[in-house]
């Protein structure tokens, strides 16, 4: 055995020793609960119940994903043999619930939504419409917040990177929401969003002369948007700091060279700043995506998933079913599905955005 290989094996031991605290923590608080969650997702484990826990196979997953479409037939008028019409001449349909309840095939299903297309009425029924809605809401949130918040953060970073007097003050101000408790911010923003007396609508009232007065959290149409705005405002300061670090890492010589070549400010931004920020941007995109998927606190404090499930998110649904409705097995299945989903997306992002390209 040569000197150097002994030295290397020592290094390995030290490496394991040094990473032990983190690894033990990861095992105890991430890996172990994950294994527990996978195990429970195949059972009907309840939070507090005297009933024994049973193995139920894939039942939880079937309940989560069960989805069917039925075409409703109009009620037939027995006298004429034709479809019944209401006063405005539209066909009269039976209640979805009567059909779902009347057919054992649809047991456990509920109406999710009804739509009139292709000259007929279709009802989408699901075993857990709230979960499916939570998937849609979560993806909408991520799709809007990643570019929106990232763009805002970049603009803020460019602004506070100027050699202006007081730029440190602005940096601190923009960063301050990040270090404030989300629960507190959510309560404050609930007041700001108050449709009649809130600051935001008072302001909108003043500048649009009362034309723009959204109901914000009270309406199913605008509640998710309201949560997106708050979330972007709260978290953008964090990405701003990362972009700021990226900006300051760009060699001044590149800008000087661009100026000598006659590049104007926009061209410098487009051809120097953007390419140089590539790795920073990739980090911001991936970390924002993962953080955005975890949306919970704002929803829990401000809307409880409502109105009409318009703000329910996957994590909120997991907590609600697992904890408040006490179905730990079911809640575990939600989180396992979610874990698979987020890992898949992270891997795809990773493959698409290779970060090893350096532009010099």
């Amino acid at each position: 055995m040569t000197r150097s290989s002994r030295f290397q094996s020592h290094e390995t031991v030290y490496a394991w020793l040094m990473s032990a605290p983190a690894l033990i923590g990861l095992f105890l608080f991430v890996a172990l609960p994950l294994f527990g969650g996978v195990y429970w997702s195949f059972t009907n484990k309840r939070l507090i119940s005297p009933l024994p826990t049973k193995y139920i196979g894939l039942q939880n997953y079937q309940n989560l994903l069960g989805l069917q479409i039925i075409r409703l037939q109009p009620e037939i008028d027995e006298a004429t043999g034709e479809a019944q019409k209401d006063l405005e001449g539209r066909p009269v349909y039976p209640r979805t619930r009567t059909i779902v309840r009347g057919n054992p095939v649809y047991e456990g299903y509920r109406e999710w939504f009804t739509t009139d297309v292709l000259g007929g009425r279709f009802v989408v029924i699901a075993r857990d419409p709230t979960f499916l809605r939570s998937l849609i809401n979560t993806f909408t949130f991520v799709l809007v917040i990643v570019p929106g918040q990232g763009g805002l953060a970049l603009i803020m970073a460019l602004l506070v990177n100027q050699r202006l007097r007081g730029r440190y003050v602005f940096r601190t101000i923009y960063f301050s929401p990040v270090v404030t408790s989300m629960a507190v911010l959510a309560i404050v923003w609930t007041f700001l969003y108050n449709p009649d007396q809130g600051l935001i609508n008072r302001f909108l009232n003043a500048i649009t002369f009362g034309r723009l007065q959204p109901d914000w959290l009270v309406s199913a149409d605008s509640a998710l948007l309201a949560i997106i705005i708050l979330s972007a405002w709260q978290a953008a300061g964090f990405q701003m700091v990362i972009f700021l670090a990226g900006l300051q890492g760009i060699p001044q010589a590149l800008y000087e060279a661009a100026q000598i070549d006659g590049g104007n400010t926009w061209q410098q931004f487009r051809h120097v700043t953007i390419p140089q920020l590539r790795n920073t941007t990739i980090f911001v995109i991936i970390s924002t995506t993962i953080l955005a998927f975890r949306l919970f606190t704002q929803v829990d404090v401000m809307t409880k998933g409502g109105p009409q499930d318009s703000t329910v998110t996957v994590i909120y649904h997991a907590v609600d079913t697992g904890f408040r409705q006490q179905k730990i097995g079911y809640g575990s299945a939600v989180t396992v599905l979610f874990f698979v989903l987020v890992v898949t997306i992270a891997l795809i992002q990773r493959a698409l955005l290779k970060s090893d390209v350096e532009v010099d």
Binding site: N44, R46, L47, I48, S49, P50, L51, R95, R97, G108, R110, E111, F191, N194, P195, D196, Q197, G198, V218, S219, A220, K304, G305, G306, P307, Q308, F323, R324, Q325, Q326, K327
Partner: protein
């Protein structure tokens, strides 16, 4: 100099550590942990003072008062903490719980029955509605110092200005038509922004179930069938639909707002009337004095109904010293201690002997309406079922969706489906022995 300061700080911390170890009580003293949900500030202070009084009057038992954050009415955060502790085996000895959650906890087996501790004398003196609330499967599992009251409040001056009849007892309560007229007349007054404050600032939670399930019952519907525990045809029947239509009409007509910024819409004069639990009555009285009047709940036609049930003390099965815990509960249930808390939170005293001594609640007292409502049987306990958490969550979610524009029948149907699903998931909640 700087170094000296640092050393002094170190020594001070060491001293603190040692002295705090010394404060830990003598060894033969029984230590009990108590969890409290956190109500209004005045209520918290008084409850803490009661615990201090108990600790001071004897040396055998020391009760550690732990207040957990929770919201004023619903206590959602508190209930989450209790559920988690129940699973982890970390429940305190003495647990404060909201009445309707008792059946779930008792069914799950983590509450100890109190029947053997309660003397016949004590039991006979307890307000009957409190016994009703505490009973599950023939045993008493929790006992509160007080029961709650749900009623209307108004201001005599405004009601007179609007020219409406002012009811003085539950027997001459407004009926639905008259009440609709009262709302319209109050709304028409110049200095009134809206007729009634429905406390919607509490948000989708226990308040909706507590305050509005009596409206559903008043219209002839209910949340679940008392015998079968099923909600089918009850919560989604035509009576419940009519009740929801009426509730929603209050917002559509502008008589009430969905988004009051805080608890003070009645105090600051924006709302002419308030629909409220007893816990707001003291503050309102302080604001208006004798101009404020407590009015009986409206008679909606099918029956007169109002809410009841409140936070109560219980002993958990994880308690090593249930006898000591009962000694504390017995102290809390003395008429003096009952009055000391109800004088602060304006809840209805939980013992008949305390009630007789109370100026507020006795005959002619300004809170007497609350007592009339409880004693006459128009107050209805929330559904007595271990599935209560699912029932209340289905109901308040449906109601929240409805008042924010959802389809009434579809939302109530969905609520029924959730309740039925929960019953099926629990094998019909078989009674455990």
């Amino acid at each position: 100099m700087n170094r000296i300061v640092k050393y002094l700080a170190l020594v001070a911390i060491l001293l603190l550590l040692f002295t705090s170890a010394a404060i830990i009580p003598a060894q033969d003293m029984v230590e009990l942990e108590l969890w409290y949900h956190g109500g209004t500030q005045e209520e918290n202070d008084e409850t803490r003072a009661q615990v201090d009084r108990f600790n001071a009057m004897q040396d055998a038992i020391h009760v550690n008062f732990v207040e957990l954050a929770g919201s004023l009415v619903a206590g959602t955060g508190y209930n989450d903490a209790v559920n988690a502790a129940a699973v982890a085996g970390d429940l305190p000895c003495i647990l404060d719980l909201d009445g309707p959650n008792l059946y779930n906890y008792a069914w799950a087996g983590f509450l100890a029955p109190l029947d053997d501790y309660m003397s016949d004398e004590l039991r006979a003196d307890i307000l009957p509605s409190l016994i009703d609330q505490g009973l599950y499967n023939g045993k008493i599992y929790a006992m509160g110092q007080y029961d709650s009251g749900l009623a209307l409040v108004g201001r005599v001056s405004l009601l007179e200005e609007a020219g409406v009849r002012i009811p003085t007892s539950i027997d001459d309560a407004w009926d639905l038509d008259e009440f609709n007229g009262v709302l319209a007349s109050l709304q028409a007054l110049d200095n009134v922004e809206y007729a009634i404050d429905l406390k919607m600032n509490y948000g989708a939670g226990e308040w909706y179930t507590y305050a509005f399930s009596p409206v559903v019952q008043g219209f002839g519907g209910d949340l679940i069938d008392k015998e079968t525990l099923s909600a089918e045809g009850v919560l989604n029947g035509p009576e419940a639909v009519a009740a929801m239509e009426w509730i929603r009409s209050l917002f559509e007509n502008g008589y009430a707002t969905l988004t009051p910024p805080d608890d003070n819409e009645f105090i600051n004069g924006n709302a002419a009337m308030g629909f409220l639990g007893h816990w707001m009555a003291t503050g309102y009285y302080e604001a208006f004095g004798d101009d404020m009047i407590v009015l009986p709940v409206v008679n909606f036609g099918a029956r007169q109904a109002t809410g009841m049930g409140s936070w109560a003390w219980s002993i958990t099965t994880q308690c090593d010293n249930p006898d000591a815990a009962w000694a504390f509960m017995e102290f809390m249930l003395t008429p003096e201690e009952i009055l000391s808390i109800t004088n602060v939170n304006a809840a209805v005293p939980g013992r008949l002997s305390a009630l007789a001594m109370s100026e507020l609640f006795g005959e002619g007292g300004r809170m007497n309406i609350f007592v009339q409502q409880l004693e006459s049987g128009i107050a209805i306990p929330r559904p007595i079922t271990p599935g209560y958490p699912a029932v209340t969550s289905a109901f308040f979610t449906a109601m929240d969706n409805i008042i924010k524009g959802g389809d009434i029948q579809a939302e109530l149907d969905a609520a029924v489906d959730k309740i039925e699903q929960d019953i099926a998931d629990n094998d019909g909640y078989p009674i455990q022995n």
